[in-house]
Amino acid sequence: MSNAAPLRRNLVTPLTVVLAALTLIAFYFVALRFIYGLGAVTNLNQGYPWGIWVVIDIFIGTALGCGGFAMAILVYVFNGTVYHPLMRPALLGGVFGYTLGGLALIVDLGRYWQVYNFLLPWHWQPNSIMFEVGLCMLAYTAVVWIEFAPAILERLGWIRLKRLIERWMFVFIALGILLPLMHQSSFGTVLLAMSTKLSPLWLTVWLPLLFVVSAILMGYSVVMLEAAVVTQSFDLPSEHQLLSRLSRVVGWLTVAWLVVRWADLIGRGAADLAFAGDLKATMFWIENVLFAGGALVFLTPSGRASRRASFLAAAALLAAGALYRIDAFLVGVTPVGNWGYFPSVAEIMVTVGIISFEILLYLVVIKTFPVLESASRSGTAHA
């Protein structure tokens, strides 16, 4: 048995009611999309055929779900067993990040009723990066559910099935590291096929590396933010000591990311575009400042020691990774012809709704299934 326990608290709170309401609003707009088409509810156009439903719901949403993957690298590859209490909550984020990312994909696909063609071998097109990304994401969604399954089976009392899965868990843990390495890097390769449209500030053959490492950074940031918020708002024993050890690792990884990015940019002779003073350059600098700011806090002892500074630094890194994706897929792209894009209210509400739904499900599950170890330690006080 693990040391985790359900957090026995009320399911209906002001927060969960608001989250549920936002989710319902999103469902309303999704219904409109299916009845009237993408054009009726989105600002998508021929110059920007992908909007925030792709870039935020899928590319950023799954990166937010990379906590389980990022923690698994630390725990199993670098033998960071002390971090193990953070595994289950991180995997839970992955379960919802990927499952809802998959649902968002169906909403966005223009010919969703034929999506099964993806699985028919005579349609396979192995040169397509999207093909690799699609199959890999589908496989990982299944793997992350299996990785999280012990928590569900433990609650249901299906101990024999739990034991069976756990005997083979090392295979799924290995897959759970390999598959996100593959598709999170391929999200960057997706952009290489659009090389004539993408600004040199983002276009580089190192895009796959920059994408996968920033996804790992976002995964760690989510784990830190989630732990801080949950322990604070449910009055649980703080995990800050453990988190501050993690933040050192994250700080150095961010520095490595920035070094690769800037060395490549200068090596290609494209750094002068950063001083062009246009929207692309401005957004590029905001990204870099957020990355550097987060790293700076995590690399100074006083920054790591302060809960508030650490929280802000994790939030900054999360925003940096999200912005990097928005810029690479939307701001950095110059289409053929005079097209512009800013998401419609419906697009924003669907995206907000999907994120709300994720948080709502997360809250429900940590209150009903054994996810948090800190909950078991505080169990007697709140029983």
Partner: protein, 337 residues
């Protein structure tokens, strides 16, 4: 700007595009460029011959069963009787656009002049849309090189729309069951031995159908002929016995659009003003697909790298969890530090 200056400018712009990715790095990892198919069919669109009659647009709609299109600001006087498409869309595969400058008095003049341009699929030698499509809905014919679209395969991800360097494939956003629209070079007519509708109806031979190899020779003849001299411009299909359009040789920009752009295209353009002024994007000679596929294949060839990584990870994770095989937590005995 003199003719030569202008050409230098165009070359410079093309080079700037090509250096977007460091050339040494990019060519080291890119897969080899694709060769043009020997029997490839194509089109020469000669902007200087085009009179902007739009017979090609109308014939295209009829041949492909596409509805007329009326922009919102014209519905007041045009109640769906005239097709007045302004650009490619989910319902328009082929469109004539106009360049205008100043007084717009002289045809094929950059200053105070005007010029026409026809936009549709250029049928790339190494098409991005074919490379990016996850379900092979976009295919390039292995003989003719025509790039066609299969709506029954398509899942509507619109990666082709985003990836096309020319902005050609168009998803019909206004239809809940929309599909991708793009010129398929009237494949259905070609199968009956006919030629694409736009080339068939063009009164001046501005749109000329033929084998790409033959069209290249025709392009060379036009570019080397003395401007102002008499010339018999073929119409319909190059080599057919239709009466030609007897006219004089215009002053061309001494370049061919589509010869080198993104690895070459089967549709080629000649024009009297720079191509960029006509709205044709300035592009490098390397195809985006050769770079993205090169990177993808470097990592995924025969799945060797992922399989080796998987084996290594299984071994590593098994070793870490071996002492505690019954649980997902290797440290439950020790608890928290």
């Amino acid at each position: 700007m003199s003719e030569v200056d202008r050409r230098d400018f165009l070359t410079g712009a093309a080079l700037a595009g090509a250096t977007a990715v460091a050339p040494s790095e990019a060519s080291a990892i890119a897969r080899p460029p694709r060769e043009r198919l020997p029997q490839a069919v194509g089109m020469l669109y000669d902007s200087a011959l085009c009179i902007g009659c739009k017979a090609c647009v109308s014939a295209c709609k009829a041949a492909n069963d596409m509805p007329p299109e009326v922009p919102a600001n014209l519905t007041g006087w045009n109640e769906n009787t005239w097709d007045t498409a302004e650009d490619l869309s989910g319902r328009t595969l082929n469109v004539i656009k106009v360049y205008r400058n100043g007084a717009a008095q002289q045809k094929d003049h950059e200053i105070d002049g005007f010029a026409f341009v026809k936009r549709h699929c250029l049928h790339c030698v190494d098409p991005s849309c074919v490379s990016v499509c996850p379900v092979a809905a976009m295919r390039k014919d292995p003989v003719t090189g025509v790039v066609s679209y299969d709506p029954d395969a398509c899942i509507g991800c619109r990666y082709c729309v985003y990836a096309c360097p020319f902005g050609v494939p168009q998803y019909d956003f206004n239809n809940p069951f929309g599909k991708i629209a793009k010129c398929q070079f009237c494949n259905h007519l070609q199968k009956q031995g006919k030629i694409p509708a736009c080339c068939d109806v063009c009164p001046t031979g501005a749109s000329l159908f033929g084998k790409v190899a033959d069209l290249s020779q025709e392009i060379e003849r036009r570019l080397t002929a003395a401007p102002g001299s008499a010339y018999a411009f073929p119409r319909g299909r190059l080599g057919d016995d239709r009466p030609p359009n007897q006219a004089t040789v215009p002053t061309y920009v001494k370049a061919v659009y589509g010869e080198h752009e993104v690895g070459g295209t089967q549709v080629r353009y000649l024009a009297g003003i720079p191509f960029a002024k006509l709205g044709l994007p300035t592009l490098p000679s390397q195809s985006p697909a050769s770079l993205s596929e090169g990177v993808q294949h470097a990592v995924y060839q025969w799945l060797i790298a992922p399989l080796v990584a998987f084996a290594g990870l299984v071994w590593l994770v098994h070793r870490r969890t071996a002492r505690n095989h019954h649980d997902d937590a290797p440290n439950t005995e020790r608890g928290r530090p």
